[in-house]
Amino acid sequence: NNNMASHGLTYDGCNFFRQRLVLSTLSGKNVKIKNIRSRDDEPGLRDFEASFIRLLDKVTNGSRIEINQTGTVLFYQPGLLYGGPVEHDCNPQRSVGYYLEALLMLAPFMKTPLKATLKGVTNDPTDPTVDLLKSTALPLMKKFGIDGEAFEIKVVKRGMAPGGGGEVVFTCPVRKTIKPVQLTEPGKIKRIRGVAYSVRVSPQMGNRIVESARSVLNQFLPDIYIYTDHMKGTNSGKSPGFGLTLVAETLNGCFLSAEMSSTPQGQGEPVLPEDLGRNCAKLLLEEVYRGGCVDSSNQSLALLLMTLGQQDVSKVLLGPLSPYTIEFLRHIRDFFQIMFKIEVQMPLDDERKGGDKVLMTCVGVGYSNINKTVK
């Protein structure tokens, strides 16, 4: 046993798989996941989860992973985060966003700056796409003191589901400590930006999406600019598709986002670009309604970075917590013994700022990057 005092944590089922492994890696606690789809027709880990484990193995040094024969039990003993140049073929069952979300949580705590090249599906309807993470997660992390020239996500090739064929380069510097933040005032939305992307379809699709999305958003704000991104040739992946990512930026530098992708080829009703644009704009309005300083898909990232801060108070205002975030909070308590103080802020009667907000307060664990080498 790696740990001298504790025997690690045990969980059931494959849900929140990434959270558990990521938190285990950061806290150094062993984790055992049992009953992974044990009642399923195809029991055990799926290919994309196996691929995720392999990625984790690539960025760490000394991890021990044991999986039983049927794949229903996984034991993970974390090693130390190593980083460096990593190349990974992500399983096309899930998009790169699935893998990238975990890497975003781990990257600042590596031994050497991470330069990950992820290949696979860049955009699909299930997971947050690379464009979304690029435009929301990175500015969020910058607030925690993680920045620098080499901090970026670059979409080299775009690959739509189900074929994939995309390529994303994610580089991130390492930090010894994370700054505490006080994100209690989101500010007003000053501009909306977006990317309408299309591959292996008519370049006009992008324009049609932009047109319809603007029609909805123009009721609120004149400052809207949606880029069209049409990739051709080798950069266009293997499957046709299109989609839209919208990001609203506030005066205080908070980002709220929404996105929508076309249904993968041969997996359901095709959608019209106009509908997609309009629906996506409405999703953004919904996101604005929820509000907060962090959008719903990055809540857990923000909470994690607050937890891993110095022994100082961090505050962040969120919209309603997503189920994923709620589970994440529980996991944080399991792994780091950190509880958040949660206060609900009801909107005033005359205020027209969307729904209830939640103010999350916590004291960091005083985490310092034990992987980084000092000279």
Binding site: N2, N3, M4, A5, S6, H7, D12, G13, C14, N15, F16, L26, N61, G62, L80, Y98, T126, P180, K188, I189, V216, L221, A281, L283, L285, R290, G291, S297, D312, K315, P320, L321, S322, P323, Y324, I326, E327, L329, R330, F335, F336, Q337, M339, K341, I342, E343, V344, R352, G354, G355, D356, T361, V363, V365, G366, I370, K372, T373, V374, K375
Partner: protein
């Protein structure tokens, strides 16, 4: 705390000390321990150090006293810092130090400022001042060696301590904290400060583990046995008399024995309790503990709930519960507490018990405590109902919470009901055993929900209402229920646990964004919407106007004046009485002016100061701001809930319960040794490879050998491990060293506990006993942590050529198989003579032979070698120094793995030296030179002088040249003898004659020489005579020619 003369205790205390009083016997001078301790302090952060010189009265001579003081002071200063405080105690009077001096010392201590040390401020720690064994005596009886459950008490220091964290007890090992609870300060500060002295009532003696007699401990109280007459003499009690000190000094017995021996009265005047009584009491308590423990399932805390406790055991039960349920305690209502308190038992405990029974029982029991219980708690429980197994709680809960989250306010009740029914059915499907307590949760939840609606929600209660497993999310779901629709209501639990792992928040809300009202609800989120009062553009403009409105255009000379504000005010106030308004007006205006002035000044100040505001200042300001925030964030909460968010604050008196401590900890307990509970960071409980920079201590006499075990003190820990020393080459390679350099830093790699980089460490060779020489072998700092090491040592593979072509050569003997060669294809090789080459390809015939090309032709006598680097593995030895587990009196005799040298010494092993390295007498063979051979041609050409002569002696004459020897007849022999005699005579005569002749001739030569000389003399005189005559003639001639010439003429 007094430190023993034991390096273990010295190391431990140096890590937790704020102030070190270093007593130095001036009559003796500095001792080795003094310097050792100073060096230990230096490594683990430098606490305040104050020297105290004692035995100054032993100096009879005043001058020598002054001199000693001065030398000691200066030496002390070089060690600590220039001007370090040194205190002088002149000497003992009647076995005590002089009161005035001690008072002064105390005053110095009280005004001392302590410096924050990095390790101490980032880790929580406890100097244990009380230890209690909670193990069930029955278990101890049946198995005296069983692991013990122990509770440790002390003031928390350093950082915040989280419940259920990991701790290290130096000298014992690593443990998981079972439970932490805080108690009231056993030695509170007096209310009013600023007094020079305390009044008698406030003088407390807090001397834990000092063996002050008559103390009995309970879970959260300490009882002191005082005779009734002593009550009025508290002061005496408070001042440690000699006897007290004496008793303090010679306590060796443990608390247990002391407790057994002492008598207790709970109230003054009441009958004292028998020791037996007490033990009985303890017994019952501990028994209960046992029960709990036996049922305890370490991974899942729920199993134990099934235990049914009798009324008598209440107290104990509650205690046990405490271990896991501090959270629980919090949730419970105060009302209940009071009720239970009335019953006589500690309030919390009872509550807990109730909760316990409630849970374990069926729902029929529910009403009994329903009033006091929170809705939240119930809701939580309800959530838990979904969990099939213990460990699965998280995922299941989540699911539920999702459900609830998505509920709408309006239809929440109904939907909830639906959910519940569903859940119930699911529940039933699942294993019944573990779920008994979950029955009736639905009802509870429903109740809870209704409550919620009417009462203003107390979030803390809602969130951390009851069960340990409760999370924040519950509250969420209740509070925000209105925002969401049920999204995954239909899915069963099981599916949920294995549902799609996706972070996206699917919004299935009914907001129809085509409706204008819905759109309006977020109108103000945009810059185009309405702004808050303070941030409205209009107000901002107005403020600006106020500030910057007045200005004079210097070019045109025009003076711009801002709009007078009061006009507006006037208008507003017009309705009021005129004079009043006037007064107000003036006042207002004055205020405004002042305000304006102030603001301008501020502005100027800030601008002016900006110039020399340094980065450091900014940083300081930021830190201060953050510190204020930290204080403010949880300042208004009560401790019970506060400890849940931020952990236990430093300064609290806490009780830490630890299970499964080795029994020796209790049986060999010795209060003389410090017990420290050091909290560990998140991954500091793990083991890995540590890379450190290390330097042999300059006062240590020997250098250290690679792979010899060494005892490190790192972080909280003391452990033995096997270091490998290495040096970094210019290309970043870590090359193994056999020994540490004499005066230089080198790298070291060990297998040990993960400790943050930058932590200092020290190493000692052994902790046993005390030696004359300096014991700290090395010091250094951690550089890097990893799960693998990169140390290499040089390895030269040697081969021999067996066939040589031009520059190509076949080499054998370097490898054994073709495969090995294949691995080294292309590697560069070299010969001893310096010819470089490359391995090309393996040969088939002698296994391991290969073809190699070189830059020049090799000789068969050449040796080919390949320089390579072989990775070295660090031995995975981590052996904590368990000095506290040793029997009392032998605690300084811990010995671990021995070094190679010690082993050899102890076992009397001497290595057989290599015979080649031994010295032998030198025997030299006589030198033989070959004859010089000159070619015939050359010989011919040489002059005779240089030609080789027939130098070789004549060998034996060949047979044909040998003459037969002549044998004479007797007559002939006589003739020959006669002839020989005659010839001898003749020879003799001839010799004599010759001699005579020789002498005669010599005489003749002398005579002849004489004659010759005489003849020469005569001739010379004749010549002289002649020349004289001739000269006279010439003179005459000349004279005559001068005067007689005319005559001639």
């Amino acid at each position: 705390m007094e430190c023993n003369n034991d390096i273990n205790a010295m190391i431990d205390l140096a890590k937790v000390a704020d102030l070190v009083l270093m007593l130095i016997d001036a009559s003796f001078g500095f001792e080795m321990e003094t310097f050792e301790f100073l060096n230990i302090c230096q490594v683990h952060g430098f606490p305040r150090i104050m020297g105290v010189l004692t035995h100054l009265d032993s100096f009879k001579n005043n001058k020598s006293l002054r001199k000693t003081k001065k030398t000691l002071k200066h030496r002390f200063w070089t060690e600590v810092y220039q001007g370090a405080k040194l205190f002088y105690l002149s000497g003992m009077v009647y076995g005590e130090y002089q009161t005035q001096e001690v008072k002064n010392l105390g005053r110095f201590i009280s005004v001392m400022k302590f410096r924050p040390l990095v390790w101490q401020t980032s880790h929580p720690y406890l100097l244990v001042d009380r230890m209690e064994d909670l193990t069930d005596p029955e278990q101890v009886r049946t198995d005296p060696k069983c692991d013990r459950t122990v509770s440790l008490y002390g003031f928390l220091r350093g950082a915040h301590l989280k419940n259920k964290g990991q701790v290290h007890i130096p000298g014992v090992g690593d443990f998981q904290v079972g439970d932490v609870g805080f108690l009231s300060d056993p030695c509170p500060l007096p209310d009013a400060r600023k007094k020079r002295a305390l009044n008698e009532k406030e003088r407390l003696l807090y001397a834990p583990m000092a063996g002050v007699g008559g103390l009995v401990y309970d879970k959260d109280a300490v009882y002191i046995d005082l005779p009734a007459s002593h009550v009025n003499q508290l002061q005496e009690e408070a001042r440690p008399t000699t006897e007290l000190v004496q008793s303090l000094i010679d306590t060796h017995s443990t608390l247990d024995t002391k407790m057994a021996a002492s008598k207790v009265s709970l109230f003054t005047g009441s009958a004292t309790l028998d020791p037996t009584h007490i033990s009985q009491h303890q017994h019952t308590r501990e028994k209960e503990m046992l029960e709990e423990q036996s049922v305890w399932d370490p991974t899942t805390n729920r199993e134990r709930r099934k235990v049914i406790f009798t009324q008598e055991e209440e107290e104990d039960v509650s205690e046990e519960d405490d271990s896991e349920g501090s959270d629980q305690a919090d949730d419970e209502d105060d009302v209940e507490c009071e009720e239970t308190a009335a019953g006589g038992a500690p309030p919390q405990k009872k509550q807990k018990l109730k909760a316990e029974t409630g849970r374990s029982g069926s729902c029929a029991e529910l009403p009994a405590f329903a009033d006091s219980e929170d809705e939240l708690e119930m809701s939580e429980e309800e959530e838990e109902a979904g969990t099939p197994g213990d460990s699965g709680h998280s995922s299941e809960e989540n699911e539920e919470s999702e459900d609830e989250l998505t509920d709408d306010d309006d239809d929440g009740g109904e939907e909830l009901g639906k959910q519940h029914s569903e859940k119930e059915s699911e529940e039933e499907m699942e294993e019944q055993g573990a779920l008994k307590w979950k029955e009736g949760l639905q009802q509870k939840a429903a109740e809870a929900f209704l409550r919620q609606q009417e009462a203003a929600p107390n979030l803390r209660k809602l969130v951390y209402g009851s069960v340990v497993e409760v999370t924040e999310s519950e509250e969420e779901e209740e509070e925000l229920g209105g925002l969401f629709r049920v999204s995954r209501l239909q899915k069963s639990k099981k599916l949920q646990a294995n549902a799609l792992d996706c972070s996206r928040f699917h919004a299935d809300t009914g907001h129809d964004w085509d409706v204008q009202e819905v759109l309006d609800s977020i109108r103000d989120c945009f810059v185009t919407g309405k702004w808050e009062e303070g941030q409205d553009a209009a107000t901002l403009l107005k403020q600006d106007e106020e500030l910057y409105g007045d200005f004079e255009d210097l070019e045109t000379g025009e003076v711009h004046v801002s709009q007078p504000q009061d006009t507006q005010d006037d208008d507003d106030d017009d309705d009021d009485e005129e004079p009043q308004v006037k007064m107000d007006d003036e006042e207002v205006q004055k205020n405004k002016r002042l305000e304006k002035k102030r603001r301008l000044k501020e502005r100027f100040n800030s601008e002016y100061d900006d110039g020399d505001a340094t980065y450091f200042d900014d940083l300081k300001e930021e830190l201060q701001k953050q510190a204020e925030l930290n204080r403010a964030a949880f300042g208004d909460m009560d401790d019970e809930s506060r400890v849940q968010y931020e952990g236990f604050r430093p300064g609290m008196y806490i009780r830490v319960e630890i299970g499964s401590l080795p029994c020796e900890f209790v049986t060999n307990f010795d209060a003389h040794y410090p017990i420290i509970l050091g909290g560990l960071g998140s991954s500091e409980g793990n083991l890995g490879y540590l890379q450190m920079r290390l330097k042999k201590h300059r006062w240590y006499e020997r250098i250290l050998k690679t792979k010899d075990p060494l005892i490190f003190s790192l972080g909280w820990r003391r452990f033995q491990t096997i270091p490998l020393f290495h040096m970094e080459d210019h290309n970043g390679r870590h090359r193994l060293l056999k020994y540490t350099p004499q005066h230089m830093h080198c790298g070291a790699s060990i297998w040990g506990p993960i400790t943050p980089q930058g932590s200092g460490f020290l190493a000692v060779q052994s902790v046993t006993g005390s030696k004359a020489s300096f014991r700290i072998a090395a010091t250094g700092v951690i550089l890097d942590l990893d799960k693998s090491v990169t140390i290499v040592k040089k390895l030269k593979l040697i081969g021999y050529p067996f066939k040589i072509f031009k520059n190509t050569c076949f080499v054998k003997g370097m490898f054994n198989t073709v495969l090995e060669v294949a691995k080294f294809e292309g590697a560069s090789v070299r010969t001893v003579s310096g010819i470089r080459g490359q391995i090309k390809k393996a040969l088939s015939s002698p296994a391991g032979a290969f073809r190699a090309t070189f830059e020049d032709r090799l000789l068969m006598s050449d040796i080919v070698f390949l320089r390579s680097w072989y990775p070295v593995s660090v031995p995975q030895l981590y052996n904590p120094v368990t000095s506290l587990l040793l029997p009392a009196g032998q605690k300084d005799s811990w010995s671990g793995m021995r070094t190679l040298g010690q082993l050899k010494h102890d076992l009397g092993i001497r290595n057989k030296p290599n015979p080649d390295s031994l010295y032998k007498p030198v025997v030299r063979a006589p030198r033989r030179f070959n004859p010089l051979h000159i070619p015939k041609e050359l010989q011919k050409a040489l002059p005779f002088k240089s030609k080789p002569k027939q130098q070789q002696p004549k060998g034996k004459t060949p047979k044909d040249l040998q003459r037969p020897s002549v044998i004479r007849e007797p007559h002939e022999r006589k003739v020959a003898a006669l002839l020989h005699a005659l010839s001898t005579v003749h020879n003799y005569k001839r010799k004599n004659a010759h001699k005579v002749q020789h002498a005669k001739h010599k005489e003749f030569l002398q005579q002849k020489e004489k004659d010759e000389e005489a003849k020469l003399k005569r001739q010379r005189e004749a010549k002289k005579k002649l020349y004289r005559v001739m000269g006279q003639k010439d003179q005459k001639k000349q004279r005559s020619s001068l005067k007689g010439a005319p005559s001639d003429l």
